[in-house]
Amino acid sequence: MEPFNVERIRADFPILQLQVNGKPLVYLDNAASSQMPRQVIDRLVRYQTNEHANISRAVHYLSETATAEYESARSKLQSFINASEEREVIFTSGATDAINLVMHGYGRKFIKAGDEIILTTLEHHSNIVPWQMLAEETGAKIRVVPIDDAGELLIDEYEKLFNARTRFVGVIHVSNALGSINPVKQMIAFAHAHGVPVLVDGAQAVPHMQVDVQDLDCDFYAFSGHKLCGPTGIGVLYGKAALLEKMQPFKGGGDMILSVTFEKTTYNAIPHKFEAGTPPIAAAIGLGAAVDYLSAIGMDAIAMHERDLLNYATDQLNLVPGVRIIGTAKNKASVISFTIDGVHPHDIGTLLNQEGVAVRTGHHCAQPVMQRFNVPATSRASFSFYNSMAEVDALIAGIRTVQKVFE
C-alpha cells in the first residue's frame, strides 16, 4: 500500500480549496458532517445522469439498473462493517432514524412497564430522546451509566445497573462531545451474559476506525452517511437477522409489503420490511462510493493519521495558557472539546470563523455531558483524515487571536 499522503487526499476534496473570510478554509467540524470527495460527487452525478429510476418496481432498463446499484451499495456497506448477511443492512435516513426504528420496531414490541433500559451519560440526544418517549409510553425506566472526570464510562457502575428487569442497552461507541472511545465489546459481552440486547450508536465511530459488527457481537449498530464522506439523508441500521425478523415494522407503505388487502397486509422480508416508500436511492449509492473510497485508503491508515493529528493537537492545546481540554479519556477518537478561560464558546466560534477555522460550539446535542463537566457549552475541533498538521497550527493561531481580542 502507498504511504499516507494527506496532500494527495486533500486534492480529492474540492471544498477544501475554499477561502473563508479571505483565509484558506480549515474545516474542523467533521464530527457534525464530513466533506465529500470528488469520487462520491462524480458517482452521484453519474447516477442522476445515466441510471436513475425508481427501484424494485418496473421491469425496464433504468429501474433494473437503479435497483442493482442500490443493492450493490447495500453489499458494500455489509462488507464495510463486516455484517454476515446483506439483509442485515437496512438503509435509513441516518443514525437518528435508525435508532428510532429500533425503538419502534423492537422497543414498543418487547419493552414493558417496569422494564429497564440502560443508557450512558455520553449519549447523543438521538440515543436518549427516543428511549424517553418509549419510557413515557410504556412505563419503562431509564438507568444511566455515569462517567468519570476524564470522560470514561464507569464500567463497574454499568455492571451494577443490571437486574432481572434489564431489557435493553443503548451505548454510544465514540462520544461526539468528548471523543471517548467506549469499551463496547466488553459491555456487549456483559449484557449478553444477562440475555440483554445492545444497540451501539456508531455515528462517530465508523468515520474513524474499522468497525466489525460480528466481532463486537452487537445486536444493532446505527450510523449516518454524511459523517462518512457520503451524502446527507442516508444512514444504516445493522441488526442481527434473527432480531430484525422478530421486530414490527417502523413505517408502513410501499416496498415493505408482500401483499395488501383491506383485510390483511403481509409484510415483506428483511431488509425491505423496514424500507417503506422510495428510499434515497442516489444517497445510498453515493454512500456505497464513499465506503469504496475510504476502504481504498484503508481505515487503519486513516486511524493512524488521525491519531497523529489528535496527539499533536492535544499537545499544542495543552501549551496554550487558559485553554482546558474537556474529555481526556485514554482511548479517544480525533475529537477535542475545549474551553478558553473568560471567553464564551460562541465568541470563540465567531472569531475562529474570521480566521477561516470552522469548529463547532455549543452543547453538541449532549447536554448531560455538559452538565457532568459543569459547562454550558464547549468548542469542539473534530479532525478527519484529510486534515493536516498545518491545520492544527491554524487552529492554535486562531485561539491565540481569540485570546488577544479578549485580553
Binding site: 473570510n21 479571505g22 457534525a32 440526544h125 471567553v343 464564551h344 464558546p345 460562541h346 465568541d347 465567531t350 472569531l351 470563523n353 474570521q354 460550539t361 455549543g362 452543547h363 446535542c365 447536554q367 455538559m370 454550558p376 457549552a377 481580542v405 479578549f406
Partner: protein, 163 residues
C-alpha cells in the same frame, strides 16, 4: 464579506468585561428570565418604575460577550425612559439586529449601533436580541422569555443555529 471582527469592538468588549447595572434589585416591580435554548445562555432582567419612567434596572446571567454587552448597553439606554419609549427602542433594536432598520433614517439607536454588524451573523442574532426579548417580557410581566417560543410576540425568523 462583512468584517466579523467589527462586532467585537472596544465598546462591546468593554461592556462584556465591565457590565453596567449587573446584579439584582432589592425591589423589582417587573422582572423576567430569558433563555436561548440553542446555547443554554440565560439572563434575568429586573426593573422598577417610578411613576411613568424606569427608575432602576439590573440584569445578570450566563452568556456570551455579544449577549452580555447587549444587556449592559440596553440597561444603560433604557434607564429613565417611559415604557412606551422602551418599547420603541426594543422594536428598533430588533429591526437593526435583523437588518431591517435604516440607520440613516430617524431612530433612537444611538450608541447601540455597534450591534448593527450582528445581522450578518445569523447564528449570533439571537445572542444580541435575548436581553431585549427579556426586557419586553418583563414589561409585560411575562415570567420567562425565550428566543424560541412561538407564542412570544417578539419571535421572528432570525435564522436557526443547528444543534
Amino acid at each position: 464579506m462583512a468584517d466579523y471582527k467589527a462586532l467585537y469592538q472596544e465598546v462591546i468588549l468593554d461592556h462584556n468585561k465591565k457590565p453596567r447595572n449587573y446584579g439584582t434589585l432589592a425591589h423589582a416591580s417587573h422582572h423576567a428570565v430569558g433563555h436561548n435554548p440553542l446555547c443554554g445562555d440565560h439572563i434575568s432582567v429586573e426593573l422598577n418604575f417610578d411613576r411613568e419612567c424606569i427608575d432602576c434596572i439590573a440584569f445578570e446571567g450566563e452568556s456570551c460577550a455579544i449577549c452580555k454587552a447587549s444587556a449592559s448597553m440596553m440597561t444603560a439606554a433604557i434607564k429613565g425612559k417611559s415604557r412606551a419609549d422602551g418599547e420603541i427602542l426594543i422594536e428598533e433594536f430588533l429591526a437593526m439586529a435583523t437588518g431591517k432598520l435604516d440607520l440613516d433614517g430617524p431612530n433612537h439607536i444611538g450608541r447601540l449601533a455597534v450591534f448593527a454588524g450582528v445581522c450578518d451573523l445569523p447564528t449570533r442574532v439571537k445572542c444580541a436580541i435575548l436581553p431585549w426579548h427579556t426586557l419586553h417580557a418583563a414589561f409585560n410581566s411575562v415570567a420567562s422569555a425565550s428566543t424560541e417560543a412561538e407564542a412570544d410576540p417578539m419571535h421572528g425568523p432570525n435564522g436557526n443555529a443547528k444543534t
